[in-house]
């Protein structure tokens, strides 16, 4: 026999969910807050580089033969590199290089991917098939590899780097937008829009695109870290930035030969890459948790 007698007054457990106010938001999204803060700092550092860096000239082609390979000190917080340049300044200026590449790459990827995605998803049929096969083929190459091949065959420069990475990155956006466009285009209310004679352009801009914005933002923020890693990897291989550009990947590559004795030449630029990618990934993750309606954050 079962009895369920008196279940009296509530037994409250403190639930951290849905706390009101900004402090509550901070506590329930710690990763997003941290990621956002660090990303913002990096962007600020990039913008204010000439003001913050102790030796702005070192980010260019200045050389100081008498201060070669000095360990970190009060004068040079990160030490100096193999031609005597202040590493701290170069790292700060480096914040202008990789993130900018990421920005351009993602802009191009969107510029190419979104129209193709809309065309595939909205019109369907053979156009959809062709575009999807094309994305399948490009996606059959691991991203870094295709970028590597392209960058290797083009004259090494930041421009070639940007082009190479963009060429491998656009298919993801095409797929993403196509999925959104296809699901919206299939809905009954779109039919009625068409029946009412509303132009295709209006349908696309006023109905399809707004739905696609949120996953697009999430995807872009998640991709920034990835593009930065790819760009630094290619620069490490010598395929992108060239001396004297203060690109972090290039700095790691240049410092490789001295690494066993002068660890600071490699450590700090690499750390910069790590922290930047980490911050943007945290940001992207946090945004996804925040904006994706399907996500249930269990406590």
């Amino acid at each position: 026999m079962i009895e369920i007698p008196e279940a009296p007054a509530p037994a409250p457990t403190p639930a951290p969910a849905a706390a009101q106010g900004s402090r509550g938001w901070l506590r329930s999204n710690p990763l997003l807050a941290v990621g956002g803060a660090i990303s913002a700092l990096i962007v600020i550092a990039a913008v204010l580089a000439p003001l913050i860096a102790p030796d702005p000239g070192d980010a260019g082609s200045a050389t100081h033969p008498f201060s070669v390979l000095k360990p970190p000190s009060a004068h040079h917080w990160f030490g100096t590199d193999q031609v005597g340049r202040d590493i701290l300044s170069r790292v700060i200026y480096g914040a202008r290089v990789s993130p900018l590449v990421a920005l351009f790459v993602l802009l191009i990827a969107c510029a190419v991917g979104i129209p193709l995605g809309i065309a595939a998803g909205y019109f369907g049929g053979w156009l959809d098939d062709v575009i999807m096969r094309l994305t399948d083929i490009v996606l059959a190459f691991p991203a870094l590899l295709l970028a590597l091949a392209l960058a290797a065959l083009l004259p090494p420069s930041m421009t070639s780097l940007t082009i190479a990475i963009s060429a491998t990155w656009w298919p993801w956006y095409t797929r993403l937008i196509r999925g959104q466009a296809a699901s919206v285009a299939g809905r009954p209310y779109i039919e009625s829009c068409r029946a009412l004679g509303i132009s295709r352009r209006r349908i696309i801009f006023r109905h399809i695109l707004p739905n696609a914005i949120t996953p697009l933002i999430v995807q872009v923020s998640l991709d920034v870290g990835g593009v930065i890693l790819t760009a630094s990897a290619l620069s490490f291989l010598g395929l992108g930035a060239q001396d004297p550009t203060p690109d972090w990947g290039l700095m790691v590559s240049e410092g490789q030969t001295y690494f066993t004795t002068d660890w600071w030449v490699v450590t700090f630029p690499g750390l910069a890459i790590l922290i930047t990618a980490f911050a943007f990934n945290l940001l992207g993750d946090g945004l996804r948790d925040l904006l994706d309606p399907r996500r249930v954050i269990l406590r």
Binding site: P16, P30, L31, R133, L134, D136, I137, V138, A140, F141, P142, A143, L144, L145, L146, L148, A149, L150, A152, L153, L154, P155, G225, L229, S232, A233, F236, L237, G238, L239, G249, V252, S253, Q256, F259, T260, W263, V266, T267, G270, L271, I273, L274, A277, F278, N281, L282, D285, V296, I297, L298, R299
Partner: protein, 338 residues
């Protein structure tokens, strides 16, 4: 299930054909004169013209494409400008080392990522979960080449715990030479009972494999966590509990099996990514794989070699995806029964 797999196979074939075509396009869209670089920097115009004829560059485009395809499928992947050997044989020599590294890395990634993902999903939002999530994102944000250098410095050169570079100790070649059975040093040592060599190859494998495993481990841990949290509210979970199964079984066996499908898809993705990651790491560890070959080819602008490697990796990637499709169909009856 056979129709499903037949469709995947047909799709794979189409993709491979497209991949071959794309590499051809890249090869010919590239600025620069392949005939000139083949002939060498001091060639006369007549020699360059002869080189062009030899390489078949004077034929109309469709013919070139057809010859290219024919060549690829018959094993003729061109000749390396630098080594003057067939590209395919260069690749065949170098590939096993890279594959060994990637597979070892994936094993480590699974062994680390799956349990961490499970632990993370058990008590979401708690400190352990936050720590594991932060760690996973760290793994995914790691610049591989930097991590390799740092670990090499710390563990090999400063602490002398692990070997610095190479696949095995060269000295062992004199006392315990390695007979080639599979082409994979670890397996070869295992199969021939060559224990000193086995120890050496394994210890040399550790550092590079751990470095390459960072990204997949982070990814897998996040996927497992996400998948489990997505399904943990479903009725069958309560039913399993109601039948008297401990949480350990509910999570570890029943929820986990649902997670394998997306995780195996992730493994295919990560296989390609990791294979290319090894390229960055191989020169640092003197690992005689595709990466070293590719990096050397980039240095000498050896176009056939670069394209050969690209093609090889792409095809390996397509095959890996196909294998994962098969595995998924076996594990997940929902796919089979459609």
């Amino acid at each position: 299930m056979t129709t499903y797999l037949a469709r995947r196979l047909a799709l794979a074939v189409v993709v491979v054909a497209g991949v071959v075509l794309l590499t051809f396009v890249i090869a010919h869209a590239v600025p620069g004169n392949p005939a000139a670089s083949w002939a060498g920097p001091h060639a006369s115009p007549a020699q360059v013209a002869a080189a062009a004829k030899y390489l078949g560059l004077d034929r109309p485009l469709p013919v070139q494409i057809a010859r290219y395809f024919a060549g690829i499928f018959s094993g003729n992947w061109g000749v390396s400008i630098h080594t003057h050997q067939p590209v395919l044989s260069n690749i065949a020599t170098a590939a096993p080392a890279s594959l060994e590294l990637v597979i070892a890395a994936l094993i480590i990634a699974l062994a680390v990522g799956v349990p961490l993902g499970l632990v993370s999903a058990r008590r979401p939002g708690r400190p352990a979960d936050q720590a594991i999530r932060a760690g996973s994102i760290l793994g995914v944000s790691m610049p591989i080449f930097w991590m390799a250098l740092i670990l090499q410095l710390v563990f090999a050169q400063r602490l002398h715990v692990l070997p610095v570079a190479g696949e095995y100790s060269p000295n062992l070649l004199f006392t315990n030479p390695l007979t080639k059975v599979t082409g994979f040093p670890v397996l070869d040592a295992l199969f021939t009972g060559n224990w000193p060599m086995l120890g050496s190859t394994l210890s040399h494998l550790i550092l590079p494999a751990v470095v390459v495993a960072a990204y997949p481990a982070g990814l897998i841990s996040r996927m497992v966590r996400a998948q489990i949290l997505d399904t943990v509210g479903e009725t069958h979970v309560q039913m399993a509990r109601a039948l008297g199964l401990p949480e350990r079984d509910v999570f570890g066996r029943y929820l986990m099996k649902l997670a394998w499908s997306p995780v195996s898809a992730a493994i295919a993705l990560v296989f390609g990514y990791s294979l290319v990651n090894t390229f960055l790491v191989e020169s640092i560890f003197d690992w005689p794989g595709l990466g070293s070959y590719a990096v050397a080819s980039i240095g000498t602008l050896d176009t056939p070699a670069i394209l050969g490697v690209t093609l090889f990796v792409a095809i390996a990637y397509v095959i890996a995806n196909l294998i994962v499709d098969i595995v998924q169909a076996v594990i997940d009856p929902r796919i089979r029964l459609r």
